[in-house]
Subunit: 292 residues, 2 copies
């Protein structure tokens, strides 16, 4: 069993990005510039945005954090999005989710110019991903693909089972895994809460991607000997021994599943660190210029 080290992989990718940025600067270009819109003071959102700003620094990017109180109107927020769409100094930007209830998140996402949509949530990017055209791939699916690639995991013709059909993980990673590319070119099965014979289907997977948000859902009997298991789950479970008061639990019962695996991602330290790294890759791409 080999542990897939997302933390080390993410660090290596960020170093590669930083090297590219130094080359851009040396060539007289400006650094890629990521802007982030943060509405309100949700604890999780504050943490994520801070981590994104920090990653920008590590990569040598310019970053701008635009903060708004949670009583901002939808119209005001859409006006800010439009301002960023028009700003030639901003290569890409994100609107940190969740947004307050009085704002239609989907409306805001669709207002973003898809050529600056480094989160990859705009329908144009989702559609281009499915069709197999150049696009911004959303963070978690791209992180998973990078891990498979960097660990040279065979995917062609293999059976990849995706547990969960969310718009931000399950569906896009399934899309990527079925494309005629590496990583990809796999037989892809998407299963979910309504699936019959779930255990049996999971047990037939060469590559199992668990993204349902149910701690320790995947048990040893659901995993084939020699499989690769990618655990996307990051549920916060109360833990008094931690300073934060919680610990992160994956969707996989790691202790019993790991011994059966060829490769497995831990939680934390697996897919998690890759997501911000994917956002940085998209920002670099945006900074180099998008012509699709």
């Amino acid at each position: 069993m080999e542990l897939i080290d997302g933390k080390a992989t993410a660090a290596a990718i960020k170093q590669e990005i930083a090297a590219e940025v130094r080359q851009m600067l040396a060539a007289g270009k400006r650094a890629p510039h990521l802007a982030a819109i943060l509405v309100g003071h949700d604890g999780g959102s504050e943490t994520y945005v801070a981590a994104k700003v920090k990653a920008c620094e590590e990569c040598g990017f310019t970053s701008t954090l635009l903060r708004f109180e949670s009583d901002i109107t939808q119209e005001q927020l859409l006006a800010e999005v439009e301002r960023l769409n028009q700003d030639p100094e901003v290569d890409g930007f994100i609107v940190q989710l969740p947004l307050p209830k009085h704002i239609d998140s989907q409306r805001v996402i669709e207002a973003i110019d898809y050529r600056k949509d480094v989160d990859g949530f705009h329908p144009v990017n989702v559609g281009r991903l499915s069709i197999g055209l150049p696009c911004f791939v959303s963070a978690t699916p791209m992180g998973i693909m990078d891990l498979l690639e960097r660990y040279h995991i065979e995917t062609k013709g293999k059976h990849c089972v995706v547990l969960g059909r969310s718009n931000i993980v399950g569906k896009p990673v399934a899309s990527l895994m079925m494309q005629k590319a590496y990583p990809g070119n796999a037989t892809v099965t998407v299963c979910h809460s309504a699936s019959e014979n779930l255990k049996q289907i999971c047990a037939s997977a060469d590559i199992l991607i668990a993204a349902i948000g149910q701690p320790e859902f995947v048990t040893a009997d659901m995993v084939k000997e020699g499989a690769t298991v990618i655990d996307v789950g990051t549920t916060r479970v109360p833990d008094a021994t931690k300073k934060s008061g919680f610990k992160l639990k994956g969707d996989v019962k790691f202790d019993e599943v790991a011994p059966k695996c060829a490769f497995i991602t831990p939680v934390p330290g697996g897919v998690g660190p890759m997501t911000i790294c994917s956002l940085m890759k998209n920002t670099l791409k945006a900074g180099k210029g998008v012509n699709w």
Copy 2:
């Protein structure tokens, strides 16, 4: 075994559409208007477009056929697309494929206003389909869903295997079948030319959708007893006994597979007649006004 009659189903749907159009007219509205751009004189394209115009008549739609010689430049064609985008009298339009080699088809598809893209090929519609938002669904996948629905075929939790990963059938029908809806909510497997254990995977399907364009590829040993088989294949095979000089062959070896099935679509007369009917449904939708 029950035969799924696509011809009769398509006829029934067209009658329903015609009834709706009569209501629209009675309410003082104008009929939905479909425009079609046809470039060159490809025999297949001529046939398809003529069938679409005829279906428009059956539904009570207005239709406009715009013909161009195959030496039309890409710029000229894009200008025509833009003219139709702007024309308030045209609710939806299609550009019949294939286009001459000097024209970038994808570029043309993306130039269509997605709110008039009744073929459902624009990345915005593909993306919205995947996300589960209102959209124009492309013709063949929608036709398949209509057949499953009209024959009350259970899909929830069932294993749906899609053979083929094309952008116009395999991928979008897989997207639809995994949505939390009826028809849908199925466990979906997409397999293709690179898939290992293809026969075994197909044999585990409750619903098998064959869309690989290889005549009689699916044999009896690849089908589970009691399965529903949807045959999307329409390969032209030479046949001297036919006036046209060819006959249509499906992807399924019908004679040996049919006895094992609960439901099966024939070729011709199965999925085929449904596709133009789906285009009519999209045109009606466009005619009623799209606000997404």
